[in-house]
């Protein structure tokens, strides 16, 4: 029953797809002018170093990979975010040139798996040509995939048809869904980031597929609407992510439900079922409100709006917008009509559920106990997930657990030492308080241990036995433990997900009944 929070990224794209399909009804011909196009396709060699959240102080294992990319106007190279994530070194090659050119990441969008690379050496672009972006190809039309997949070193070309135009979860972040186009041309490891061409223009970027064990001839490309949104977002020199209103709605199909809310029979209006406190609409929209229209477009009872001669989900209106844009809502509240204007933002708690890249794992070590925030990457690294961790991770948004613990701090590990030999039972527990203060972030943990005190009494969630750390004992042991396990720093506190403004604004929040100790 638990639904992901209100994020309907993909509908923007669907709209664009339909529109483009009408505007450019291409005649599809067999065969592309490969000679011309191959000047725009590049082979990307990357070395990535992925942190191991089980040993967050270590730099992580590095590994190399090969993928594809293509050149668009302005000497920009587009590829997948997953080709450039956690990259330490990127080299680009092109056909007919023996040299490898070092590239740097200019923009990276982990929520739609796109990245833009730049190459300092102008010599690289001497013989290249820029590709142009097309539209959304129609079903059953032929597309050509170019890239550098496994099976050899030189450019590979495969062909297929457009099989399906639908929304897919983009597996790079694991939580975002957008429009994606399924094609039956072979897409193999190494195709990632390569262009999908129709009539000489780009209609998509190959990015994910199923392994042959699961399904045959199912590959996906990121369609042009998602590409264009990315290019538009970075125009100001910064990628801001998709934005959201932070509300969930419930379709108003039930006739009794409609009457109880004062709605006439018919097929318009949806009920707001959840308003995220960290979301844009909080305070302006309430649970039980009926949404009648969005940006002037009437909302039908299944949550769709008429747009571009189609019925699209109402979130589509939001999906097309950028950070700071507003959306207008017509609301029926207790029989009264109200208009609200919501300034859109990215609800930050949602980022804890997305896989993280290009960040270092946060941690604090004290007395051999390792404290780490409950992020997607950390959660994924756990071999055993306790019920309490499962609850805090899965209900973090739905139960708004972030109100009390914006960052859920877990005692992830005990680095064995005589002083912590009896503390193993606290592994995988969540820190609620230290010396009576609620722990909201990992910074709070670090700060609590810096405050002079003879003892630090750590209260964990759901187990009211205190974990006691004696300052004098720890101070003797700390360096010895760090040296024994060859750890350079006892903490890394950068790369926080929780915005500072949020913490400043919610300093005095009190939470609802929970598993804390009795007062």
């Amino acid at each position: 029953m638990q639904k992901p929070p209100f994020r309907y990224k993909a509908w923007v794209a669907l709209f664009t797809v339909v529109l483009a399909g009408m505007l450019f009804p291409w005649d599809v011909q067999a065969g592309e002018n490969i000679k011309a196009i191959q000047r725009s396709v590049v082979r990307i060699f990357t070395v990535a170093q992925n942190p191991d959240y089980r040993t967050p102080w270590d730099p992580g294992e590095s590994g190399s990979g090969v993928g594809s990319g293509f050149i668009i106007d302005g000497n920009r190279i587009l590829t997948n975010a997953h080709m450039a994530s956690n990259a330490r070194f990127i080299a680009v090659e092109k056909e007919g040139d023996a040299r490898r050119y070092e590239a740097k990441v200019k923009f990276i969008a982990h929520d739609c798996d796109l990245a833009m690379l730049e190459i300092q050496d102008p010599a690289f672009f001497k013989t290249t040509a820029a590709l142009h972006l097309g539209g959304v190809p129609s079903l059953d039309s032929i597309v050509t995939v170019l890239g550098y997949p496994i099976g050899g070193d030189r450019l590979s070309v495969t062909r297929g048809v457009v099989s399906r135009i639908d929304y897919q979860v983009y597996s790079h972040s694991g939580v975002d869904s957008h429009l994606a186009i399924q094609i039956d041309a072979a897409i193999n490891p190494g195709n990632s980031g390569g262009p999908v061409i129709q009539d000489g223009v780009v209609v998509g970027v190959a990015f994910q597929g199923f392994s042959g064990m699961v399904a045959q001839n199912v590959g996906y490309m990121i369609p042009v609407p998602v590409l264009t949104r990315f290019l538009q977002d970075v125009k100001d020199g910064h990628y801001d992510r998709y934005v959201d209103a932070g509300i969930q709605f419930f379709p108003l199909i039930n006739p009794t439900h409609r009457r109880a809310l004062g709605l006439a029979p018919g097929d318009f209006g949806v009920m707001v079922s959840d308003v995220m406190q960290a979301g844009a609409a909080f305070g302006q929209v309430h649970v039980g409100d009926v949404l009648l229209a969005i940006d002037g477009r009437p909302i039908s009872s299944d949550g769709r709006v008429n747009m571009d001669e189609d019925r699209l989900m109402l979130n589509e209106v939001v999906e097309r917008k950028f950070k700071g844009d507003t959306v207008g809502l017509s609301i029926l509240r207790q029989g009264k009509k109200i208009d609200a204007s919501i300034t859109l933002s990215t609800p930050w708690p949602y980022l804890t559920q997305a896989r993280q890249y290009d960040v270092k794992p946060r941690y604090v070590i004290y007395g051999g106990l390792v404290f780490q925030p409950l992020s997607s990457s950390f959660y994924g690294s756990l071999s055993e997930k306790t019920d309490t961790l499962r609850y805090y991770y899965s209900q973090f948004l739905g139960k708004e657990l972030y109100l009390k613990h914006p960052e859920v701090v877990v005692i992830s590990k005990v680095l064995p030492d005589p002083i912590n030999t009896y503390q193993g039972r606290f592994v995988n527990t969540i820190v609620d308080q230290i010396n009576g203060s609620t722990i909201k972030t990992l910074e709070d943990v670090a700060a609590a241990f810096k405050k002079p005190s003879d003892f630090y009494v750590v209260r964990v969630v759901g187990d009211p036995q205190p974990l006691v750390l004696e300052a004098s004992a720890v101070s003797k042991a700390q360096q010895r433990i760090l040296a024994r396990y060859k750890i350079d720093a006892d903490a890394y506190l950068g790369d926080s997900i929780v915005p500072a403004e949020w913490l400043a604004k919610h300093e005095t929040d009190q939470a609802t009944p929970d598993l804390t100790m009795e007062k």
């Binding site: 029953m1 638990q2 639904k3 969930q248 419930f250 379709p251 108003l252 199909i253 039930n254 006739p255 009794t256 439900h257 009457r259 109880a260 809310l261 009920m271 079922s273 959840d274 649970v287 039980g288 019920d387 309490t388 499962r390 609850y391 899965s394 209900q395 739905g398 139960k399 002083i419 009896y422 503390q423 039972r425 003892f455 009494v457 759901g462 187990d463 009211p464 036995q465 205190p466 974990l467 006691v468 750390l469 004696e470 004992a473 609802t512 009944p513 929970d514 598993l515 804390t516 100790m517 009795e518 007062k519």
Partner: protein, 505 residues
């Protein structure tokens, strides 16, 4: 060593079964060795139980009846001792003598689903009249040899024996730990019998709890637990095994010990949580106390005491088995650098006193259908309906309540009421997919038990029942005037009674 024992056992079994056959034809020729088996045939009965439980996700629906057999031990008072799980949700119980094959219906006299023990009584008192009840053995200690007594379908006895390797706590049923004998060796035959009596010499030492063929161990319900049960059963009303009502942890960590000022010479356990209204609470025990002595026993840092027979033994055994409900146990605690002694009058915590009851057995799970919404109490039985992997496959927001029920400070609900599902009717269009919603309020009234619904439903808001739930959609509405029609449809089309209880809504 192991190998030799196996051969011996097999030999013994062969010899014995051979002798039983001879014994049938000529009783007078029975050699000395045979007597024991003949005696035991006089002391045990075959028990057949047909049981039928409910489907907790469709509480109006009964499961297919299932039949189980067991070997019961005849105990004084013309009664038969079996494991409780054998008779859970029974519809029909039949006893059969092993030698004369006479049959007689029986009823449950006392059952304890925590200690997993039940006493059966034949409906005809004369049925066990000339049988030889088994006296209870003295408590065993490690090294003692015990014999598991099985009966083949044809009536032959199949004894297999093993040595007690350890005596320690074991789960008798979910969440209920009592002292168990652990025997080495794998069980040779089982014939599908759920209860198997375990003898020491000619006396009853226990009943088999479970056998683990891969680890080659057999756990046995121990004599002291049976003794406690029989003693309680002989003095009605049956009160059950006591609890003190607190959670504890070890007081091992020197840093914790220094923080609370516990002298190094003192050992004990750290009290984590005292349940409100429990014997420990009434005695004045508080979270943060360290229990250093219980009764006359010194408590170790891990919660054990030295038992004269079993060696280091958990306090849980002391509290739950050494005492009866109503007994007073002196508890010495270290608090604020001083020791004091508290007297706890032990009580029993019945399943109904749990926020999420650990089991619902021998009765239909309660439910109310209101306008197609199925209201139920959350119980462990409901969660277990998700299959063997329920701990992972049941919804985590429901597991949470079960897991943390003693720790939900500030949540005053007696029970967790859920809308388990919606029965589709033309009136429930749009609600069909709702399931496992935790109900917080109905018409503004907080809902802390199923019976709270009744009063709440008398008080509609603006002509509608307003039901608030913790999950999407947050609010559900029902029209009081439509409810009778909806119920008519459910009763006629689905043939589902709208309520498990007789109380009309």
């Amino acid at each position: 060593m192991n190998r030799r024992m196996k051969i011996n056992l097999r030999l013994l079994i062969t010899v014995l079964s051979g002798l039983v056959l001879i014994g049938c034809s000529s009783r007078t020729m029975v050699p000395e060795r045979w007597n024991r088996t003949a005696d035991s045939a006089q002391s045990i009965v075959r028990v057949t139980v047909v049981s039928q439980g409910y489907h907790f996700h469709q509480p109006w629906q009964q499961r297919q009846p299932s039949r189980q057999t067991a070997i019961g031990a005849i105990v004084p008072g013309g009664r038969v001792l079996v494991t409780a799980l054998l008779v859970a949700n029974h519809r029909y119980i039949e006893l059969e003598t092993v030698d004369t094959r006479r049959k007689q219906r029986a009823e449950v006299e006392v059952v304890d689903y925590e200690a997993n023990l039940a006493l059966l009584k034949p409906t005809d008192d004369t049925f066990l009249m000339h049988r030889k009840p088994l006296a209870l053995a003295n408590p065993s200690s490690p090294g003692d040899r015990l014999t598991l007594l099985q009966i083949k379908p044809d009536g032959d006895a199949v004894p297999s024996s093993g040595e007690i390797t350890s005596i320690e706590l074991s789960a008798y049923t979910q969440g209920n730990h009592f002292l168990a004998y652990r025997l080495n060796g794998a069980l040779q035959y089982r014939f599908g019998n759920l209860t198997i009596p375990v003898l020491k010499g000619k006396k009853l030492a226990g009943l088999m709890l479970r056998s683990d063929s891969s680890g080659q161990t057999i756990d046995i319900i121990s004599t002291p637990v049976i003794e406690h049960f029989l003693k309680d059963a002989d003095h009605p009303p049956y009160l059950g095994f006591p609890r003190a009502g607190f959670h504890y942890g070890p007081a091992l960590d020197p840093q914790l010990r220094r923080y609370i000022g516990l002298p190094e010479t003192m050992s004990g356990i750290y009290v984590q949580k005292v349940l409100k209204g429990s014997p420990a609470d009434l005695a004045g025990l508080r979270a943060g106390d360290v229990i250093t002595r219980m009764d006359q026993h010194t408590v170790s840092n891990t919660g054990q005491f030295n038992h004269p027979l079993y060696g280091k033994t958990s306090l849980i055994h002391l509290i739950r088995t050494a005492y009866q409900v109503g007994d007073t146990i002196p508890i010495t605690v270290f608090r604020d650098n001083a020791t004091l002694t508290l007297n706890a009058v032990l009580g029993h915590r019945s399943p109904d006193e749990y926020r999420v009851p650990p089991f619902v057995i021998d009765r239909q799970p309660e439910y109310r259908i209101i306008g197609g919404l199925v209201f139920q109490e959350l119980s462990l039985s409901y969660l277990r309906e998700y299959g063997n992997d329920w701990a992972h496959s049941a919804p985590i927001h429901l597991i949470y309540f079960n897991q943390n029920q003693d720790y939900l400070n500030g949540d005053e609900r007696e029970k967790i009421i859920i809308i388990s599902q919606v029965i589709p009717t033309p009136y429930s269009v749009g609600y069909e997919s709702l399931a496992n919603l935790v109900v917080s309020k109905v018409n503004g009234h907080p809902i802390g038990k199923l019976s709270d619904l009744e009063a709440a439903l008398k008080d509609p808001v603006n002509g509608f029942h307003r039901i608030e739930v913790d999950q999407t959609p947050g609010i559900i509405f029902l029209d009081p005037e439509e409810i009778p029609q909806i119920h008519k449809i459910i009763e006629s089309r689905y043939r589902i009674p709208i309520s498990s209880a007789s109380a009309p809504l």
